[in-house]
């Protein structure tokens, strides 16, 4: 007898296992430090985009401002652990909690807005944060950037080693994915989707819609904050342009290219976009001798093409590998009786 959870949401064990296997096996193939950097960045960005897919794909709320929360996390870590010599882990935690609270407070008014108005408000948040990062240069280092962010250590191990950092990032990402799929595979996930479809009907059913929207907004902001902290410790130098709207737009592209309707889409999209860039550059340089401007033209074109021909993102292409269509599974043994009763209903209609 199939578990109720799997009846409702399909099986998630397979994709989780596949991801775990990929994470574990990749280092045996990959030697280049450059590929590791990309893999690490994918992990970092995936933490943001997974949260964002909860917000965009499930709750249907646009954000073009998550780079701000990414930045707040990064700067919180940088300032607390760099300037104030606090433990990076504590700094990360403080950054995350602070971001959550901040996003919650901001979220209460702005999530009353819908669609494009919300997009605008989040752009505004992003710009305000960006300007503050530049302007508060006594604390943030302003446009010159923040130098001197310590390297992470864990149980006395320096995570400076690529491999350690790689595993560290992906363990965090993996946990975030599990938390997120837990949310999605529960009443809350259903509720978020129902908000997407009809906010009015959802409210009528007794749901304090704004409360959930704000909670998910703040949660995804907290995810972004963690990712920002990790980013800061990885690059060890940050400056405001990294946290501008262009980055928020990049996150959005990642979510949409992968497929917004699933947490897995976000992970996939992040990986694809990161590799796409490098692939275009590699292919372009090696075989066509093209230069930077041609690369971005090709990059723009590929995004357009993916969205044109795969409006649900790339995930559906991949998910066929993981999951058979749920319809093909026999309706699992929930209750024998109703199956028969429903067939009798069909025949009664046929009796015309």
């Amino acid at each position: 007898m199939t578990k109720l959870e799997n009846i409702l949401y399909g099986n998630r064990l397979k994709p989780l296992l596949v991801l775990a296997a990929i994470i574990l096996l990749l280092p045996t193939f990959v030697k280049s430090q450059y590929i590791f950097t990309i893999l690490i960045l994918i992990g970092i960005y995936a933490i943001v985009t997974v949260g964002l897919s909860l917000l965009i794909g499930y709750a249907g709320q646009i954000s073009l401002g998550h780079a701000a929360f990414f930045g707040i996390g990064a700067y919180a870590s940088a300032i607390l652990s760099g300037t104030h010599q606090m433990s990076p882990w504590l700094a990360m935690l403080i950054g995350m909690v602070a971001t959550f609270i901040l996003a919650y407070i901001i979220g209460i008014p702005i999530l009353k807005l819908k669609g494009h108005f919300l997009a605008l408000a989040t752009i505004g948040i992003n710009i305000i944060v960006y300007i503050l990062l530049l302007g508060l240069n006594n604390i943030t280092g302003g446009a010159a950037g923040f130098v001197g962010i310590p390297i992470l250590t864990l149980f006395g191990f320096s995570l400076n080693d690529k491999l350690f950092f790689y595993f560290f990032v992906w363990i965090v990402a993996f946990l975030i994915i599990i938390l997120s799929t837990n949310i999605v595979r529960s009443h809350v996930g259903r509720l978020l989707r129902s908000i997407h479809d009809s906010e009015i009907a959802t409210e009528t059913l007794g749901v304090q819609v704004s409360k959930y929207k704000v909670a998910i907004f703040a949660l995804s902001a907290a995810f972004a904050s963690i990712a920002g902290s990790i980013y800061a410790h990885y690059i060890t130098f940050i400056s405001p342009p990294t946290f501008y709207i262009t980055k928020s737009i990049l996150f959005l592209i990642m979510v949409m290219v992968g497929g917004a309707s699933s947490v897995w889409g976000a992970v996939l999209g992040t990986a694809i976009i990161m590799f796409l860039n490098e692939l275009i550059r590699f292919v372009g340089h090696t075989y066509f001798g093209i230069s930077g401007e041609v690369e971005i033209v090709v990059y723009g074109l590929i995004i357009i093409l993916i969205m044109m021909y795969l409006p649900k993102g790339l995930l559906p292409l991949f998910s066929q590998i993981f999951q058979k269509k749920r319809k093909n599974e026999p309706i699992p043994a929930i209750d024998e009786n109703h199956v028969t009763s429903s067939t009798s209903k069909v025949s009664s209609q046929e009796g015309v």
């Binding site: 209609q349 046929e350 009796g351 015309v352």
Partner: protein, 240 residues
């Protein structure tokens, strides 16, 4: 006359309509009845070109009208009043009505205003709201607007998908009576899809019963009304 032959429609991979044959003669009101999900709306949408059929042809007065997009089909004289009203909520009632003439507006503006006046006469409720936004109307008012808008283009044949839905009994009667008038005065053909089978059969000349995408029965109004299967399944007559 309208002639439908071997019409099949798929939505995605699922076949909704199976090999449908039927016709409507000039000056005839034909009712189509069937349970929820039988495929009535799909049939009308296919005729109107909103969905392209996977097989079959539709001819209207010797002209093939299948295989054209919806916006071309109207120009050929077939007008659909869709399920769920679909008024333009951001336009006024008057603008909504005038758009009903889109296919002919630039050829004959006077006719557009003439028809507008006719519709207002037929549905006085609309006159009251002429400059209100379509979306602010009550459900029933929107339904009247949708029907009136469908008639604006002087179609050769008009398809109505559950026009009585949400209308007060008096208005249902008015609309159905109006159909009879249109049919008699202008020779307009009418296909009437109705859940209110009783009311539909009062005005229809003939009726088709459709079930699971197939035509199950057809006959004159009298034949269909007295068919025991129809009586039990659609007319709510409880039979032993």
């Amino acid at each position: 006359m309208l002639n439908v032959q071997g019409l099949s429609t798929h939505i995605g991979k699922i076949q909704i309509l199976h090999d449908i044959d039927f016709h409507v003669n000039k000056g005839e009101i034909v009712a189509i009845i069937g349970a929820n999900g039988a495929g009535k709306s799909t049939l009308l949408n296919t005729l109107a070109g909103l969905i392209q059929p996977s097989a079959g042809t539709v001819t209207l007065e010797d002209e093939v009208i299948s295989g054209f997009p919806a916006n071309k089909v109207v120009g050929k004289g077939l007008s659909l009043v869709p399920e769920g009203r679909q008024v333009f909520s951001n336009l006024t009632v008057k603008e909504n009505l005038l758009l009903g003439m889109f296919s002919k507006y630039y050829k004959n503006k006077n006719l557009a205003y003439e028809n507008l006046n006719k519709m207002i006469e037929m549905f006085p409720n609309l006159n009251k709201h002429l400059h209100n936004l379509g979306g602010n109307l009550s459900g029933g008012e929107q339904q009247m607007l949708a029907v009136a808008r469908g008639l604006m283009s002087n179609p050769k044949i008009i398809l109505l998908d559950e026009p009585s839905m949400g209308l007060a009994p008096l208005v249902v009667k008015e609309i159905l009576d109006a159909l009879v008038v249109i049919k008699e005065q202008l020779g307009t053909m009418v296909i009437l899809v109705e859940q209110n089978v009783k009311a539909a059969l009062k005005v229809a000349d003939r009726a088709y019963v459709i079930d699971q995408g197939r035509i199950l029965l057809n006959g004159t109004r009298e034949e269909i009304s007295s068919n025991p299967q129809v009586m039990s399944a659609y007319l709510g007559v409880k039979m032993a």
